[in-house]
């Protein structure tokens, strides 16, 4: 009696592990490209016109990022039909990062230090997210890019006063290091993984 039940437990755990699939290869890119491009647009707009409407360009980041994220998450779920504990941990962490950047941005705005500190804070949050995702997935390029980006996130603090729009350009580059480069590495890795799996089958 006991041996067969224990055998079922062991077999099912092995079966679930063998069916675990790599997902989320597009999520870093879905957030990385809109964030980086809008930061660049904002930088260009501030350098050219420096008017109040330039500040509304920020709205583009969640307006593009959130629908893209929902689309890719649904696509992943359609494919795998399950969500692993790791995927859930990563998702919850990034939702928290998004929430923290909104709350932090609003708090800095009210405190009157938005232009001084927000971009360093945003860069640090993105790079910590990248680092933690790499740790959870055991994916080294994300860990390395996360460390480089988090060290670089202090650079915007050196551009204050009249020079503050340059913080946008620097943060855009930090987002490239924290999201776009590791995103492409991961996408390439997942594609190769499935190619090898198909060849094996």
């Amino acid at each position: 009696m006991t041996a067969s039940e224990l055998d079922i437990i062991t077999r099912m755990r092995g079966e679930v592990m063998s069916r675990k699939e790599l997902t989320g290869e597009n999520l870093f890119l879905a957030w990385g490209y809109p964030t980086s491009i809008i930061l660049l647009l904002e930088f260009a707009a501030l350098m050219l016109w420096n008017e109040d409407w330039c500040d509304w360009l920020w709205a583009g980041i969640p307006l593009i990022g959130v629908p893209l994220m929902i689309y890719f998450l649904n696509e992943d779920y359609e494919r795998t039909r399950c969500r692993t504990l790791e995927q859930n941990a990563i998702l919850v962490m990034w939702v928290f990062i998004g929430f923290a950047s909104c709350v932090g941005g609003a708090a800095m705005g009210f405190a009157g230090v938005f232009r001084q500190a927000f971009f360093a804070y945003l860069g640090l949050l993105c790079s910590l997210g990248c680092f933690m995702t790499g740790i959870i997935l055991h994916f080294r390029p994300k860990i390395i890019c996360g460390i480089i980006a988090s060290l670089s996130s202090a650079i915007p603090l050196f551009f204050q006063g009249e020079q503050w729009p340059w913080q946008l350009l620097i943060t855009s580059l930090i987002v490239v290091v924290a999201l776009i480069i590791p995103g492409h590495f991961f996408r390439h890795y997942v594609k190769n993984y499935y190619k090898e799996m198909n060849a094996y089958e």
Binding site: T2, L6, I8, I9, R13, E15, R81, L85, Q87
Partner: protein, 110 residues
């Protein structure tokens, strides 16, 4: 005389399909009905009945997304279910590791 006590075996989990469902969900955050159907190699009707039993015992949470024929049931294990599975597995392992050697020793003496 041995002081071995038989562990109480959870009757809800002591069923092949229900055990398979619980173990599969224990290793995942959530899974939909079709995934469970495939991984447990069972029919929809049987799976549905066993999921209801586990849900009634408070071991599973079932949520439905969408409506009509395209609606999907998503199952996830509760804390109570996780603890019950852990206790069940521990009980079986204790029974297997302590009782069986004990019986073997008695046979040798006999």
């Amino acid at each position: 005389m041995s002081n071995f006590k038989f562990p109480v075996i959870n009757s809800v989990l002591h069923n092949e399909l229900r055990l398979k469902i619980m173990v599969a969900l224990d290793s995942l955050e959530s899974a939909n009905f079709m995934y469970l159907c495939e991984i447990t190699d069972s029919t929809r009707g049987n799976l549905s009945v066993q999921i209801t039993t586990l849900k009634d015992a408070g071991y599973l949470e079932v949520s439905r997304s969408g409506s009509g024929p395209s609606a999907r049931s998503v199952c996830c294990i509760t804390y109570k279910g996780h603890e019950a599975l852990r206790a069940y597995e521990e009980g079986l392992r204790r029974l297997f590791s302590e009782r069986v050697p004990d019986m073997e020793n008695k046979q040798k003496i006999g």
